[in-house]
Symmetry: C2
Subunit: 157 residues, 2 copies
């Protein structure tokens, strides 16, 4: 496993889910392990679903989205033969997110996400992601990430 998180190598990322400098965000950390990326996240108590002992589906979606898109960004650097964060910068955005929720997810222990780029065609990457709690699969997702020019974020909305 690489010792430095993917997110800690991507510059200028204020994202709620994965931006290291967003102090009100989740600040997830993803690491390559071979062709798979891994993220372990301990939810906060206020990230609950309706019942307080389960994790909110929207937070699960946020973890999946950010972990998968950071994996796509890391793969974009890797495919170009660049270390993450080395210029020219690479950036991806989420085109779509499909999640199946398989079981209620306990909030009082970490979740483990594993993602893998299943398919890369031009600017598009299809990323598969699973979420596990205590080894049990609780959600499964497919995320389509699209590479955009590094200046994407600089232009006003």
């Amino acid at each position: 496993m690489s010792p430095i998180a993917i997110q800690d190598q991507i510059p200028d990322n204020l994202c709620y889910g994965c931006g290291p400098s967003n102090h009100d965000g989740l600040r997830i950390k993803s690491f390559w392990e071979g062709d798979e990326s891994i993220c372990v996240y301990q939810p906060e108590r206020f990230h609950s679903a309706g019942p307080p002992q389960f994790l909110n589906g929207g937070i699960i979606a946020t973890l999946i989205d950010c972990h998968s898109v950071c994996t796509a960004i890391a793969d974009a650097y890797r495919s170009a033969g660049q270390a993450i964060g080395v210029e020219p910068h690479r950036w991806c955005v989420t085109a779509s997110l499909k999640i199946d929720y398989l079981a209620p997810t306990p909030i009082d222990r970490p979740v483990e996400l594993r993602a893998r780029v299943r398919e890369a065609t031009g600017r598009k990457r299809v990323v598969e992601c699973t979420v596990r709690s205590d080894g049990r699969e609780v959600a499964r997702a497919e995320v389509i990430a699209v590479e955009v020019p590094a200046g994407w974020g600089a232009a006003p909305g």
Copy 2:
């Protein structure tokens, strides 16, 4: 438009996205308008995507999930001829979430979500949801919500 939010009639909901008593959550409010439900939400600045002027995709997913599932719960009460919150209580969980992100979403103005139950079969409801910013469609989703026994939340995970 009904003057009382769906969420303010559903009892015992600590949800991060839609629980009225989760003070660290988004506390969205959804209202029936005929067969459609509407939610207007003003994001916080820390809900940003990588670039600070855009709204995070995970927060968008959370808004969609909670607005759509609350719509399914309200529809479950309505289909049973009950006012929301009247016993026996109704509850739904998210089985799946499919979101297409169509355009970057500005963070500095409200988003408007509209949801509608497209199909109801047994315990399953298919909910369509759109997200607009300044009238422009920025995301489109299909959420499958499944009705579960009201005691679902009382059992430990």
